[in-house]
């Protein structure tokens, strides 16, 4: 998935010299290929994220196409006001790349974890929010983010969970749910995003459930969500993000208004991580491990 990200970035930058990569002194190894092949388009803005995001707005104002990279804890969270005021307010063509979202930096504690980024960015007018699940979605999201020519936040979470799709996605339709597998219509359907699509697929195989992936969280097509609700008996949403304001919230906002549906939201409870440990350990702490999630879905089915 990270290779797909790097490949897409290099490809876009080679095709368009106006593409610039700005990083707040992060991305060790990730940008080796970019720095080798597009050295003049690489800008290390220093450990100064607020200025970096403002600067990206300035670059976009004079015709450049900045991609701004940081850990999700910093881009978008630390720099949320710059994103709102300097970028989204004028719908400037800037792609914000938030890496390590969720509990990727499980050993580093709260400063490097981010489970509020979707909620915060969703509420900024006009800002689109993408959350790819595997390398195919990543490629499609990067291509879409460039082609959209507007303000986009692309969330990069746990990246080594394997493919959920079997082939490349032709062109990402913003707001569409992508069906990953078919299951029984007399059971709930799962709608997941990012790292949790893999979890959803694993559980769905055991319980024979339909799974949709949501690579775009904003926009989200009302028709697609309602179609998913009609195709199953209730919905389960899964995300490595707070229960407040994320995918589950976005789905229930639509169903409650357009097609009242019973929805089980699975995500991070209203709490910070308490302990240090592996990624799996932290998923467990937040009740997002496969065993707990499978049991909750099973109980919801029953």
């Amino acid at each position: 998935m990270r290779e797909a990200f790097s490949n897409a970035l290099v490809r876009l930058a080679l095709a368009d010299p106006k593409v610039l990569l700005l990083t707040g002194d992060h991305g060790y190894a990730l940008f080796d290929e970019f720095r080798k092949r597009c050295p003049s388009q690489y800008i290390n803005a220093g450990i100064a994220e607020q200025n970096m995001v403002g600067m990206a707005a300035g670059l976009a104002r004079v015709g450049f196409r900045p991609f701004v990279y940081g850990l999700a804890a910093f881009v978008p969270i630390r720099t949320l006001e710059q994103i709102k005021l300097d970028i989204a307010h004028d719908h400037l063509p800037v792609v914000l790349l938030g890496d390590g979202a969720g509990f990727v930096y499980s050993h580093l504690g709260t400063s490097h974890q981010s489970t509020e980024d979707i909620a915060c960015t969703r509420a900024i007018p006009g800002l689109e929010v993408l959350s790819p699940a595997d390398r195919f979605e990543m490629t499609a999201c990067m291509d879409y983010a460039y082609a959209a020519n507007g303000s986009v936040y692309l969330r990069m979470g746990k990246s080594d969970r394997g493919d959920v799709h079997t082939s490349p996605i032709d062109a990402l339709q913003p707001g569409s749910l992508l069906k990953v597998r078919d299951g029984r219509a007399d059971r709930p359907g799962l709608i997941a995003t990012g790292s949790m699509v893999r979890t959803a697929v694993d559980i769905a195989q055991e319980q024979n459930l339909t799974v949709w992936s949501a690579p775009t969280i904003k926009p989200l097509l009302i028709d697609d969500v309602c179609a998913a609700a009609r195709a199953s008996t209730g919905l389960v949403t899964l995300e490595e993000h707070s229960l407040l304001g994320g995918l589950g919230a976005a789905i229930t906002e639509i169903t409650s208004e357009h097609l009242p549906t019973r929805v089980l939201r699975i995500g991070v409870p209203d709490q910070f991580s308490k302990h240090c440990g592996t990624y799996d350990y932290l998923l467990n702490e937040h009740r997002l491990d496969s065993t707990t999630v499978a049991r909750r879905i099973y109980e919801f089915v029953a």
Binding site: A45, Q50, N51, M55, A56, G58, V62, Q82, D86
Partner: protein, 282 residues
């Protein structure tokens, strides 16, 4: 790099400070708004910038080859509106309908108004955007210039100093930071709230070509800007302008209440009278 040649012609009567202050007073009275003092301290700076330096091809505020004036201290926006009126970009109706329901001009800088480059008022934003514009122009290899006006109170904000590091590191000699050093911020004097120390020394140590000037002396401002562009190859510029908050109306000068006080019929008339408008400036 060659010094930027001033644009002024001897017959250019636009941007007369007293008339621009009158526009500010008219707007503030029409809209019952605040921030008069914040606008008055940058009038002469804007007079010189608009009259002598800023290039707008075909008088178009959105012209691709323009110079950029970034008003990072958005609280001074009425002074910029006054310049835009002088340029014919705003008309009397804009002035009279200031703050009326549905009107376009806000109480702080909004980049969706042609002629204003950034959305500011939340402080410490505009300068970073200006640094990005300067970096973009530098990459394009144009001779366009970026002027960013920040308040001395605004220098409390961290991103200003982040941007200063970046501007010097990338040798942005197309960027001029202008500090409106009026000595006040919202709640008191800068010395009392958060002392700034020696600003010239600070910016010089960051790698800026730096000058101090009387921010109400047009000739001195014009000469200082000329000198900054002429000197310090590869260095961003910092002009520390000593100004007076509320300048031009004696009862407002250095009285910080005029950060927040609104005009009534009496104070409006008294202020207009104090401007002493005569002849060509009227």
């Amino acid at each position: 790099m060659t010094a930027l040649a001033p644009l002024r012609t001897e017959t250019d009567q636009r941007f007369a400070p007293a008339r621009m202050r009158r526009t500010v007073l008219e707007m503030a009275y029409a809209g019952s708004t605040v921030h008069i003092g914040c606008a008055f301290s940058i009038i002469e700076l804007l007079t010189v910038l608009y009259r002598n330096y800023l290039r707008y091809p075909e008088n178009n505020p959105l012209a691709e080859g323009r110079d950029y004036l970034v008003l990072s201290k958005g609280h001074g926006v009425m002074a910029q509106y006054a310049c835009m009126r002088e340029l014919g970009w705003l008309n009397d109706s804009h002035i009279q309908n200031y703050f009326k329901d549905g009107s376009e001009l806000k109480g702080l800088s909004d980049s969706r108004v042609a002629g204003l480059e950034v959305t500011s008022g939340s402080l410490g934003h505009g300068f970073s955007v200006g640094v990005g514009i300067a970096m973009g122009l530098q990459r394009k290899g144009t001779d366009q210039k970026v002027y960013a006006i920040v308040g001395d109170g605004e220098l409390n904000e961290g991103p200003i100093w982040e941007g200063a590091l970046v501007a010097a590191h990338h040798r942005m000699d197309n960027l001029m930071l202008i500090v409106d050093k009026n000595g006040f911020q919202a709640m008191g004097s800068t010395d009392d709230v958060l002392a700034l120390g020696d600003l010239s020394a600070k910016f010089a140590s960051f790698g800026f070509e730096t000058l101090e000037v009387d921010g109400h002396d047009e000739a001195a401002i014009e000469a200082a800007i000329h000198q900054l562009w002429a000197n310090g190859l590869g260095k961003p510029k910092a002009l520390i302008a000593r100004t007076v908050k509320g300048k031009g109306v004696p009862f407002m000068e250095s009285d910080n209440r005029w950060h927040y006080t609104r005009l009534n019929a009496q104070t409006f008339a008294k202020a207009i009278n104090a401007l002493g408008l005569t002849g060509a400036t009227k």
